[in-house]
């Protein structure tokens, strides 16, 4: 693993305004992740985990603070720049997988390549390569609703990897899975990290994730801090 920092945030703040007042989702979050690392961010529901991922993926902008992903200063990018970033540099896998229900497995995985104007033959071979890698051969023509939770998660990971991003962000990847599928997905993240050198940030309150990450952070009431795994385990069950 090189020491190059690929995800860097400094003093991130995010406040949501609701009819009942304001909610501070992030309060001065600073984070640094080196290339090729797998890190876990743990914390109870509503602690700011998903907000942090959305900011790292360029889906939301912070109210204050700096975010740099693979050399791109996200505050300096316009809508087109952030879209390009999501297409090629950083991929987010949301908790509900974010698959398009009326497209097949093949078409879902092909989508980022289609948007990146990759030629048809190249798209086809890349998608088939990912389908084989994810163990989805034979399911190319299935629609997401015909798949199990574990298969849907693997399709989402395949789509996220289509344009070989530097950073993969996974929001509660084991939340909707049974024990066996959860372990399988976590093993898959480990394999992706090893085979492609992808930096992976897993946000979860599942204590099983701790066995697969190199460093752990806890986030509580919008405040992030690095902790040893045993301590993160305590926070996850909160």
């Amino acid at each position: 693993m090189s020491g190059e920092v690929v995800v860097w945030t400094y003093d991130l703040w995010k406040v949501y305004r609701t009819p009942h007042g304001t909610v501070s989702a992030l309060k001065g979050v600073s984070l640094s992740v080196r290339r090729g690392e797998i890190v876990g961010i743990h914390g109870p529901s509503g602690s700011g985990k998903t907000t942090l991922l959305k900011i790292l993926a360029g889906l939301e902008r912070p109210d204050r603070g700096e975010v740099v992903v693979d050399g791109y200063d996200l505050n300096q990018l316009d809508d087109n720049g952030l879209a390009m970033l999501r297409n090629t540099v950083v991929s987010l896998i949301p908790q509900d997988y974010g698959l398009i229900e009326d497209l097949t497995v093949f078409e879902n995985i092909e989508l980022p390549l289609l948007l990146a104007k990759v030629p048809r033959e190249e798209r086809r071979s890349r998608v088939m390569e990912l389908i084989d890698y994810m163990g989805l051969r034979g399911r190319e023509r299935a629609r997401p609703r015909q798949l199990s939770g574990g298969e849907r998660q693997r399709v989402a990971i395949a789509r996220a990897l289509a344009n070989t991003p530097s950073v993969l962000l996974a929001d509660e990847p084991t939340a909707n899975l049974d024990y066996e599928n959860a372990i399988r997905v976590l093993e898959l993240f480990k394999r992706v990290n090893k085979d492609f050198g992808t930096t992976i940030v897993i946000v979860s309150h599942d204590p099983r994730v701790l066995r697969y990450v190199e460093r752990s952070f806890i986030i509580r009431d919008g405040v992030l801090k690095e902790v040893p795994p045993q301590e993160a385990l305590g926070s996850s069950s909160a």
Partner: protein
């Protein structure tokens, strides 16, 4: 990118309810025209047009989860805001074309479809889609 969102919109419409509704509407219109005297067309035209509007709204409403999942999938895959606007415009336009096509085929030859109806249908569909999306 824009070609990509066009491809997704087309696939969604072809696999959605609009095409099934259009096939049903076409069959009903053909049956009606086969058994009714031509004077009846003119009397029934407001009802047919009202039904077409209803079919459009119910089709996009019924397929709203598919539409929302597509928008989310496109954003995650790297579509920008302009591409999403184009996607919604294309989706609504294609659904409307699918639904008005049986009307055009059946009623234009007998001269009872108001000439400006197609223009109204295509022009109003993005707005109706927006209203449906806001309501869910």
């Amino acid at each position: 990118m824009y070609v990509g969102v066009g491809v997704v919109a087309l696939k969604l419409v072809l696999r959605g309810r609009a095409v099934r509704y259009a096939a049903l509407a076409g069959a009903l219109l053909a049956l009606f025209m086969a058994v009714s005297p031509s004077q009846a067309y003119r009397a029934l035209i407001p009802l047919v047009l009202a039904l077409e509007n209803l079919a459009y709204i119910s089709s996009v409403y019924a397929d709203r989860s598919s539409l929302l999942s597509a928008a989310e999938g496109l954003v995650l895959s790297g579509a920008n805001r302009r591409a999403l606007l184009l996607f919604r415009a294309l989706y609504s336009g294609l659904v409307r074309i699918a639904l008005t096509l049986p009307l055009v085929i059946a009623l234009v030859p007998v001269g009872v479809l108001p000439p400006l109806y197609m223009l109204y249908a295509l022009g109003s569909s993005p707005l109706l889609l927006y209203v449906v999306e806001r309501r869910v």
